[in-house]
Amino acid sequence: MVREGFDMVKEIWKTFWILLVVTILEIGLALTLTGHVPQMLLNVFYILASLAKAFYIVAVFMHLKFERKYLIITVLLPMVFMLFAVVVLLVEGDWWYYLKRY
């Protein structure tokens, strides 16, 4: 639960500014740096920035950081399967590319 004297409205607007600045940064880099720096570098930034935005939405907007520890675990732990599918299917997709070429 939210502790005494905690200004939730302030926290909400702080989170809004974080989300907005990160999004503007993403779009700004996409428009200015694409083609000038290795794409892999930009992609790593986009993924990290998106995960950061996801963290703030889930933690503050969805109040998950104020919930009990075991609830947080049951919600976040299944996402491990997603990570598994990302790795396995991207490797597989790369293999389809070679199959189509040769």
Partner: protein
């Protein structure tokens, strides 16, 4: 032994029954687990996108595909319109969380209704923007099977994934309207709890959360 059994009885164990170990209501818990399940349907969509994209030699450039803006016929604004859509969705998430806050903290019917109404407006702006973007791309030849910008799979994936997300926004707007009517009729004042607003709030934020990754996959990477 006596000492340990004594501390056991003094310190309440959350797993011994009698109340929710997660200290949230049944309905809210089920909303959380529904969203966990729903994240896997979007995960399946986006991972398919990734796998298919890796299997193509070249992929359409987002700055080439998404560069049109309504009412600006001959001007190229790469990623301009989608930035506006993203801002709308973030903003509507903020108005939603404010509605949830004023419901839980103050049970202020007027403030909840005000912020919920703004959330609905944000959702409708987002849906109209998406309708415009789809119409624009379809009239420029991008369909499920054809894509003038490159790989045909891009069109198929774009319409299914943004369509599935847009359908979530659409249902979210409908549910928000129902909850707004209930708020205005004072249903939650009589019930003594504004938790229903919090439950639809969870759903609405999830839609915003999914957009973060749809945006990343289609417009940035």
């Amino acid at each position: 032994m006596t000492e340990s059994s004594l501390t056991m009885s003094v310190k309440p164990n959350v797993w011994q029954g009698g109340f929710s170990p997660f200290r949230i209501s049944w309905g809210k818990l089920m909303m959380w687990y529904f969203l966990v399940g729903d994240s896997f349907s979007f995960g399946a969509f986006l991972i398919t996108y990734g796998a298919l994209r890796f299997s193509y030699e070249s992929w359409p450039l987002p700055t080439e595909v998404f560069k049109s803006f309504p009412f600006l016929e001959n001007v190229e604004v790469p990623l301009g319109f989608v930035s506006f859509m993203t801002f709308t969705l973030i903003m509507s998430s903020v108005t939603m969380v404010l509605a949830v806050h004023y419901g839980n903290a103050e049970r202020n019917r007027y403030k909840v209704a005000k912020w919920l109404a703004w959330t609905i407006v944000g959702g409708l702006i987002f849906l109209s923007s998406q309708a415009w973007e789809w119409t624009h791309l379809i009239t420029h030849g991008m369909t499920m099977k054809h894509n003038p910008f490159g790989a045909p799979a891009f069109g198929w994936l774009f319409f299914t994934i943004t369509g599935f997300h847009g359908f979530h926004v659409f249902t979210g707007v409908i549910i928000n309207i129902i909850i707004l009517i209930n708020v205005l009729r004072g249903v939650y004042d009589r019930r003594g709890s504004y938790e229903m607003v919090e439950k639809v709030g969870l759903y609405w934020h999830f839609v915003d959360l999914v957009w973060v990754f749809v945006f990343m996959a289609f417009y940035l990477l």
